[in-house]
């Protein structure tokens, strides 16, 4: 139980930091902490092998979104042709 409370607490704290941080790029590391805490909480709430798949799918999806936001903000990737 204490594990889940700690994960939820850290997720809440990091979410608050995302809201309070004004620089868009510096919001993303805090968002990363939220992803970690939520992925951990998924497995702590549902201790089933498929929950690992759910946590990984959530984590990779949210990482890809951060990647896309950061790269778009930075002007997008260069096409090497």
């Amino acid at each position: 139980m204490i594990e889940l409370l700690l994960c939820a607490g850290i997720a809440g704290y990091a979410a608050l930091r995302v809201v309070l941080e004004r620089n868009t790029m510096r919001k993303l590391p805090f968002l990363n902490v939220v992803s970690f805490a939520v992925a951990g909480a998924i497995v702590l709430i549902v201790p089933h092998p498929l929950a690992v798949l759910a946590a990984a799918a959530y984590f990779v999806g949210s990482t890809l979104e951060s990647n896309a936001i950061a790269s778009t903000w930075a002007g997008g990737g260069k096409k090497d042709e």
Binding site: L28, N32, P49, N67, A70, A74, G77
Partner: protein, 161 residues
């Protein structure tokens, strides 16, 4: 309950050492894997941090690295033992490819974490402590002070090169 209060900080330290060592070994602070990682590094530096440490933080944000590998491997070991951890390593490998990351830091971190966490469960630790431990470990890098975390990572990177 008191045993958990001791286990979680120890697990956090083990997770921290595992992911920082592997990320530094794979040279994550060297350059941004995608343009977004470089942009995050520049913003961290503008906020008074270290560029190399910021680059590593940007790379952690942009693709599942050894920290994500450690988290998902702990989750895998907690629900299904060593096969669960190796399954998580496969998921991290797929995640790396999805995120346009050619590296193997995430997969390697997941495999080493699987065996480290399994060894600790043999010693009586609960694998769920490592899930929370990894969340606490990433909090210290990405969630407290970007300036201080990036300087620490930059110093470790200088020491490695």
């Amino acid at each position: 309950m008191p045993s958990e209060l001791l286990e979680i900080p120890l697990a956090a330290v083990v997770c921290w050492v595992n992911f920082v060592t592997i990320d530094l070994f794979f040279g994550l602070p060297r350059e941004g894997g995608v343009s977004g990682a470089t942009a995050i590094a520049q913003e961290v530096e503008a906020g008074g941090g270290d560029l190399k440490g910021g680059t590593m933080m940007g790379n952690i944000v942009s693709s599942p690295d050894a920290s994500a590998g450690t988290l998902l491997a702990s989750c895998g070991v907690a629900v299904a033992g060593v096969p669960g951890g190796l399954f998580a390593a496969l998921l991290v490998y797929i995640g790396n490819r999805i995120c346009y990351d050619p590296g193997y830091a995430g997969t390697t971190g997941a495999v080493t974490a699987t065996f480290i966490v399994y060894a600790f469960t043999l010693a009586g630790f609960s694998a769920t402590s490592f899930i929370v431990g990894m969340v606490v470990a990433i909090l210290t890098i990405q969630g407290l002070s970007h300036r201080h975390a990036s300087r620490l990572l930059g110093r470790l990177w200088k020491w490695r090169t």
